[in-house]
């Protein structure tokens, strides 16, 4: 397959599919299925090529910067794209199963399909963006589609959450855009490779405008990533959205803004001089792990619990900013963070899907109504348990390997409090996961002592799509080796086996600026 087709397949295919799904209702589901398969093939093909040839760049239409749009893919990009394809594809299957059998007349379910494709297109485009302005554009598109998904149900709760999310996300985008504009005015480029080189050369230290720009960019992104204490918008938004949307938001959308922070911090900004800022970010992460976990334990509603779990898990991603200040462990910490992000994406999507199925089966949002549900919904409870293991960070999940590496970095660099937090977070996660599982296994003896309850059957496609994703999540740790090899391609800390210049895949004539 030509690489151009791969690049275009990841962005243009979902966009076209989205338009089609919007225009023609009967074609909406087929369009989603075609895109799901297409982007899966494209993402794996891209990963394979990146692994073999090193980082790739593609000038859209053959136009060079500053006029053209430059797409770029290295190991990290490919990893993220595969993550989107696997999680997004499963969510499409799950939703297809849900809509075929479950009719909910309170809102227009079919609207999910075009918005979903728009969301996938903007995610793919975001990960492929080679400059910080395109990152802004794609981030904004992502926000808009996410808001639409949250508000889809149309209830007062959902609309309130959607509106709050919209306000937060738009202000965050504005902060980011302001930063980008400042950087452009100082360095005259938005391409993040060139920008990185310029900043290294010019020594940003002491340059107030650059520092301001970086601060604006980072704080905007922190708000979007919902790191403690900026997480206030997340639990209502993620728990009141339709299940498929919750899964997309928690698994993928948060990772997009985190990806930008990770990318800019270690590849563009002179992070070595920002040790204090790095420590601050990590402190926020630590607070997020502890606070999010405790809140999750306190929740009485299932999806709210899962949403707070996301707050906690996002905290783990921020440990890298302090850990990577020690060059000896930087690669371990950085690669572990990416592995954790991917692992959480797959695991959390499965947990949300399972939670949605359970909520549908019992017709209640409350955790208490799950008593004995394992009898009626064995497959879904098994999926919840399997993916729950990922949240706890036990083997053989990817989160386990990631936590091992994070712990190793923390101990090797002497950051013992972080080691303690990494382990405590796991124990707290075990409490909230097993609280649900324990309840679901309850058997009432005699039967009359339990309240009588009617449960609805959950469509098989929903059950098995969730279980499949959960199994992928739990076996991810055993696939760490190829993932690490992929990440090494143009990673900020590993010895790069490829030349610094990305291979250009454009078959068009280069146009001189």
């Amino acid at each position: 397959m030509s690489l151009e087709a791969v690049f275009l397949g990841l962005i243009v295919l979902p966009l076209l599919g989205g338009c089609l799904a919007f225009l023609s209702r009967p074609l909406a589901l087929p369009a989603n299925l075609v895109v799901a398969v297409g982007q899966l093939i494209c993402a794996f093909e891209l990963a394979r090529t990146v692994m073999a040839q090193g980082p790739l760049s593609y000038k859209v239409g053959g136009w060079d910067a500053p006029l053209g749009v430059n797409l770029y893919a290295d190991g990290l990009t490919a990893m993220m794209l595969v993550m989107v394809a696997v999680v997004g594809g499963t969510i499409v299957l799950y939703t297809a199963g849900a809509m075929r059998s479950i009719k909910d007349d309170t809102y227009d379910q079919q609207l999910f399909w075009p918005i979903n494709l728009l969301l996938l297109a903007s995610l793919n485009a975001l990960f492929l963006s080679g400059d910080i302005f395109n990152l802004y554009v794609t981030l904004e598109l992502l926000t808009l589609s996410a808001v639409a998904l949250i508000g889809l149900v149309g209830t007062v709760d959902a609309l309130t959450a959607a509106l709050r999310y919209l306000l937060v996300a738009i202000s965050a985008s504005l902060l980011y855009l302001l930063g980008v504009a400042l950087l452009y005015s100082i360095y005259g480029t938005v391409d993040w490779h060139l920008l990185g080189d310029q900043i290294q050369v010019d020594q940003v230290k002491g340059d107030q405008a650059s520092l301001l720009a970086i601060a604006l960019i980072v704080s905007g992104l922190l708000l979007k990533t919902a790191v403690f204490p900026l997480h206030f918008w997340l639990p209502p938004a993620h728990s009141s959205a339709p299940t498929a949307a919750s899964a997309l938001l928690s698994a993928l959308v948060l990772k997009a803004s985190f990806y930008i922070i990770l990318r800019l911090w270690f590849s563009v900004f002179p992070y070595a001089e920002f040790q204090n800022a790095g420590t601050l970010l990590t402190t926020l992460g630590v607070a997020a792990i502890l606070w999010g976990s405790l809140q999750a334990i306190n929740q009485t509603q299932l999806k709210a619990m899962v949403a707070y779990s996301t707050v906690a898990q996002v905290g783990y991603l921020f440990l890298v900013f302090s850990l990577a200040s020690d060059a000896a462990v930087a690669w371990d910490a950085w690669s572990a963070t990416v592995l954790f992000a991917v692992s959480h994406a797959v695991g959390k999507a499965a947990v949300f899907l399972a939670a949605g199925s359970l909520q549908y089966a019992t017709g209640s949002k409350q955790i208490d109504s799950l008593a004995g549900i394992a009898r009626e919904q064995p497959v879904t409870v098994l999926a919840f348990a399997t993916a729950g293991v990922v949240l706890i960070g036990l083997p053989p999940s990817g989160a386990f390997v990631a936590k091992w590496l994070l712990l190793q970095s923390a101990i090797a660099s002497g950051q013992w409090p972080l080691a303690a937090v990494i382990l405590t977070g796991g124990v707290l996660a075990a409490i909230y996961v097993f609280r649900v599982l324990s309840l679901s296994l309850l058997r009432c003896e005699p039967r009359e002592s339990c309240e009588p309850r009617e449960t609805r059957p959950v469509p098989r496609l929903m059950q098995y799509a969730t279980l499949g994703l959960a199994i992928v999540a739990i076996t991810l740790g055993m696939m760490a080796s190829p993932m690490m090899e992929l990440l090494k391609v143009d990673a900020p800390f590993s010895a790069n086996p490829f030349s610094a210049d990305p291979v250009s895949v454009s078959t068009f004539r280069e146009v001189a600026p």
Partner: protein, 499 residues
Amino acid sequence: MISWNQWLPLLVIASSLISGGVIFVLDEKRKLARTVLNLGGAVLKVILVGLMLWGVSRGELYEVHFPLTDGLEFALHASPFSLFFVTLSAGLWLLTTIYAIGYFEDSPHLDRFFGFFSFCVCATTGIALAANLFTFVVFYEILTLTTYPLVVHSGKESALRGGRIYLIYTIVGGAVVMLAAVWLQTIVGSFEFTERGVMADVSPEQYGQLRWIFALLIAGFGVKAAMVPLHGWLPNAMVAPAPVSALLHAVAVVKAGAFGIVRVVYDVYGLEFCRQISVTTPLAIAASITIVYGSMRAIYQDDLKRRLAFSTISQVSYIVLGTAVVGPMATTGGIVHLVHQGIMKITLFFAAGNLATTLGVSKVSEMDGVGRRMPWTMTAFSVAALGMIGMPPTAGFVTKWYLGHGALETGQDWVVGVLVISTVLNAMYFLPIIYVAWFKPPKGAWAKERSAGQLETRWSLLMPPVVTGLLTVLVGLFANMPLSPLDWAKFIVDLEYGQ
């Protein structure tokens, strides 16, 4: 391509992984298919282990390595010590499977039960075959996860409570082990299990840290090995069905903890090094306290399974004690007790399960005259109980003989005192049971009697304890024959001491 020698350890693990997975997918009503899968998986595993034993005796090397990241490797190997443990678990698992099929008969949720049952043994085999501490921890945690559904199988409030306590202990214990393992890795670099340890190049400045790590590892593994004061979960886990208790006490969980401690002392730190940083005496003291405390508590339990649980707490620490008394004889006693305790304790739990399912008897005070109603079961029970006390010619005698000799040999005479006290206490809680079972008349009708035709109970419940009861005597009688557990333990000890 990976060769046969690499495939074999994987297949030993996969045999129960695959049968477990298929059982999950299978419709719960298909009892015959499930039984075939269960027994097929268990028999296949025994055959594969047999093949591996045969190969190792001919000098074959079974190893497989998968790098996960630059520093972490998933690695399995078949060392003599691995094989020792894997043979025990594969053999006893087959018996426990037969027993479980008879025990549950037609009760609900058997697909879930046998699925996790298989996964649990898969994890135990992984623990046995793990070639480094990372792989060990992976399977050790999986064991926690897969045993939880078995412990809470009945779904009653009491079972869920027991399961909750079990999880709190084991999850925190697992976290401690993980911390220690990672810390160790940052100091030593790799931690491949190697005879006589991997500490050759460590500088004396790091001894302090290594002592801390040792303490953490022992504490972490001590949770599963039920060492006092980390034993609280075990009596509470008695709410589990009898086959699960048998599995927890004899094959999987408690054994995994003890095996972990032995691995740490011999194959990570090395005995010589342990003595050098003087951590063996504290370990011996901790083990002795556990031995005496467990036995003392056992005396006061009226619930038969709880009494056996406290007995396990005491008996498993014999393994740790043998490890901590540095000397070839004591080490032999400790290692061989890994198998001896397994055979004896599983017999006791099978018998206790038979009493409960056939007669509804679960308390010692209800056991008057059970010997007349269930002679085979109680014969097996009595033999195993006498073995626990240490009567010749049973397996338990061999253990205590070697432990005592080993202690005297190295001048640690106080250990003999511990053994004597423990033996007296063992007699105090086992002999009354044997007495009332055989010499007192029944008090009246049994609580919940179920008839099973000509036999005293179903054959699938009767055969396993009779076999293991017989083994208890045989491994004691033929302790000095080639291929006996003792012979094998001696071979392992020769490797550890470099003779």
